[in-house]
C-alpha cells in the first residue's frame, strides 16, 4: 500500500478502486447487451429491466434464506439463473419468431418489454426501496493510508476479470461460442453448414440476460433497489456498447473502464459536475472513432 500511495495520492487511488468496481457492474451488464446486439442484432432496451429484476430477485432470495452470508451468496448465484429462465421463456415464446423483422421493430418490441417488466416489478415487489444485506465478511472498509475502501468494492474489482475470462472462454474456446461469432457476421451461412441458428440465438440471448441478472444481483447490496434503477443503467450500458464497438465484448470492457473511471475521477476534479465526465468521454471517443474503439460486428 505504501508503494501505491507513493506513486498515487490515496484519495485518487481510492477513487480509482471505486471506479473499477463501478466498471465491473457496467461491464457485466454491457457485455450481455453487446453479446445480444452482436449476434442476434437485437438492441435490447429491456436489458436494463432484467438487471433490475436481477436485483429484486436477489433481495427476495436473500430474504428467503434469512439474509447474512448464506442469503447473500444464494442471491448472487440464484438471481442470474432466475433472470436467465425468464429470458428463455421470452426468447422462445416471442423473439424466436421475430428475428427476421427490422431492427426498429425489434427495438420497439424490447421497449414494450421494458415497460411490461417495469410494471411486473411494481406488482410483485411494490414501489418501496429495498436492499440486500451485506454479509459480515464484506462489511467495513480496508484503510488505505487514512482513506477507507469498502471491502465489497474490492470484491467486485476481483469478480470483473473472472467474468471477462469466462466470456473469452465462451466465445473462443467453446463450439457454441465460435458458432455465435460466425452467426454474428453471417447467420444465413451458419444455417447452410447445418447449424440450427434459432437455438444458437436462444443460448446467446439467455447468456446475455444471465449477465444482466448477475449485474443486478451484484449491485444489490450497494444500491437502493427500486423501480427506475433500470433507466439510468440502460442508457449507460448502450453508451458503453457504442463506445466500445457494437457487438464487441472487449469493446464493452474498454468502454466500461473509461465510463467507470471518468465517473469516479470526475467527482474529484469537479464534484458538482462529476456526472458529466463519462458522457464527455463518450462524446470524445465517438468524435475520433465514430464506429467505436474496437471492431464492430455490425
Amino acid at each position: 500500500m505504501e508503494f501505491l500511495s507513493s506513486i498515487c495520492p490515496p484519495e485518487i487511488l481510492c477513487q480509482i478502486l471505486v471506479g473499477l468496481s463501478r466498471m465491473t457492474i457496467l461491464f457485466i451488464v454491457a457485455s450481455g447487451l453487446t453479446l445480444i446486439l452482436g449476434v442476434l442484432r437485437i438492441p435490447n432496451i429491456a436489458h436494463g429491466s432484467l438487471y433490475m429484476i436481477g436485483a429484486f430477485v436477489a433481495f427476495s432470495v436473500s430474504k428467503w434464506f434469512g439474509g447474512g452470508t448464506t442469503g447473500f451468496w444464494m442471491a448472487v448465484v440464484l438471481a442470474p439463473f432466475a433472470v436467465a429462465l425468464l429470458s428463455l421463456v421470452v426468447e422462445r415464446g416471442i423473439f424466436a419468431h421475430l428475428y427476421e423483422r427490422e431492427h426498429l421493430m425489434l427495438l420497439l418490441l424490447t421497449f414494450s418489454f421494458a415497460l411490461i417488466l417495469g410494471d411486473l416489478v411494481k406488482v410483485v415487489w411494490g414501489g418501496e426501496y429495498r436492499t440486500v444485506q451485506l454479509p459480515g465478511s464484506f462489511k467495513g472498509p480496508i484503510p488505505v493510508e487514512s482513506l477507507p475502501i469498502p471491502i465489497y468494492n474490492i470484491f467486485l474489482v476481483i469478480i470483473g476479470p473472472f467474468v471477462a475470462l469466462g466470456l473469452w472462454f465462451f466465445t473462443n474456446k467453446t463450439k457454441i461460442g465460435k458458432i455465435s461469432r460466425a452467426a454474428a457476421v453471417d447467420r444465413e451461412m451458419v444455417g447452410a453448414v447445418g447449424i440450427n441458428v434459432s437455438w444458437v440465438f436462444a443460448i446467446v440471448f439467455v447468456i446475455g440476460c444471465f449477465l444482466a441478472g448477475m449485474g443486478g444481483a451484484l449491485v444489490s447490496p450497494i444500491v437502493n433497489i427500486t423501480l427506475g434503477m433500470d433507466h439510468t443503467l440502460i442508457m449507460e450500458a448502450f453508451l458503453i456498447v457504442i463506445m466500445g464497438g457494437l457487438g464487441n465484448v472487449w469493446g464493452a470492457l474498454l468502454g466500461a473502464l473509461i465510463f467507470g473511471l471518468t465517473q469516479s475521477l470526475g467527482i474529484l476534479i469537479w464534484p458538482q459536475f462529476g456526472i458529466v465526465f463519462p458522457y464527455a468521454a463518450a462524446v470524445t471517443v465517438l468524435l475520433f472513432r465514430p464506429t467505436g474503439l474496437l471492431k464492430s460486428t455490425w
Binding site: K175, K178, I179, R181, A182, A184, V185, D186, E188, M189, V190, G191, A192, V193, G194, I195, N196, V197
Partner: protein, 229 residues
C-alpha cells in the same frame, strides 16, 4: 437423387426463375452453365432453401424438401458452397471446419486436410486472411465436413488464378470418385466441361438446353447464343 420440378423463384416482386427443372443422379457431376445473372446462383439458393421457390417442387432421395430450412437439408445430406465462398472471416481455418454440423464420421478435419494439404499448413490462420484460392478450398472443405451425398458447388473457379483452377478441378474429380454427386454451376465453361457428364444451360431464369456432354459439345448454336463461346 435430386429432382427439381418446375420451380419459380422470386426476389421480392422480381420473378427470377421460370419453370426450372433439373435432375442429378447418384455419383454424377451435372453442370449448370450460364452467363452472369442467368439464374445459376438463384437455382442453387432455391434448392438449398435460402431463397425458397414460390411454385414447383424439389425432392431429394424421393422425399420432398421444398422450402425446408437450410440446416435441415444439410442434415439430410446436401451441402452448399456459395459463389462468394462466405468463409467465417473471424474464425480460424480449423474452427471453420469444426463448427460445421457432422452427419457421420465419413469426413473429418484430417480427411479435408488430406484433400487440401494447403489448408493443413494454415489451420490456425483466420478465414478472412486467406487468399481467394485458399478460401475456396476452405469453403469446399467446410461443406464436406457434413459428409454430404450431394454437393451444390456454385462457381468454384470464379476469381481464381488458372493454376489454382486446375488444382481445384483435380480435387473435384477426386470427390466424384468418392461417390458424392455434384451440381456444379459455372460461367467458366472450359473448366466445367472437364468435370461434368451432363449439362443444363440456363439463361434469363429459364433452362434453354438439357443434354449429355456430347450433345452440348455438338450444339454450336446453344454455345454461341447463351454462353458466347
Amino acid at each position: 437423387m435430386l429432382s427439381v420440378n418446375g420451380i419459380h423463384t422470386f426476389y421480392g416482386l422480381s420473378h427470377i426463375l421460370f419453370d426450372v427443372s433439373l435432375t442429378v443422379s447418384q455419383g454424377e457431376i451435372v453442370g449448370l452453365l450460364g452467363r452472369n445473372g442467368a439464374g445459376k446462383s438463384t437455382t442453387m439458393r432455391s434448392i438449398m432453401g435460402l431463397t425458397p421457390p414460390r411454385q414447383g417442387t424439389i425432392t431429394f432421395k424421393a422425399e420432398p424438401i421444398t422450402r425446408q430450412k437450410a440446416f435441415l437439408l444439410v442434415r439430410r445430406g446436401i451441402a452448399y458452397v456459395p459463389d462468394d465462398r462466405r468463409v467465417f472471416a473471424d474464425l480460424s481455418v480449423d474452427d471453420n471446419l469444426e463448427i460445421t454440423f457432422r452427419r457421420n464420421e465419413d469426413w473429418n478435419k484430417e480427411r479435408v486436410y488430406d484433400l487440401f494439404p494447403v489448408l493443413g499448413e494454415i489451420k490456425s490462420r483466420r478465414g478472412g486472411n486467406l487468399s481467394g484460392g485458399e478460401q475456396q478450398m476452405l469453403a469446399v472443405g467446410r461443406a464436406l465436413m457434413s459428409s454430404p451425398e450431394l454437393l451444390l458447388l456454385d462457381e468454384p473457379t470464379e476469381g481464381l488464378a488458372p493454376l489454382i483452377v486446375r488444382d481445384l478441378e483435380k480435387q473435384i474429380l477426386k470427390l466424384r470418385e468418392t461417390g458424392i454427386s455434384i451440381l456444379l454451376s459455372e460461367q467458366n465453361v472450359k473448366s466445367a466441361l472437364k468435370l461434368i457428364s451432363r449439362v443444363y444451360v440456363i439463361d434469363n431464369g429459364r433452362i434453354r438446353f438439357e443434354g449429355s456432354l456430347a450433345d452440348f459439345e455438338a450444339n454450336e448454336e446453344i454455345k454461341k447464343k447463351y454462353l458466347m463461346i
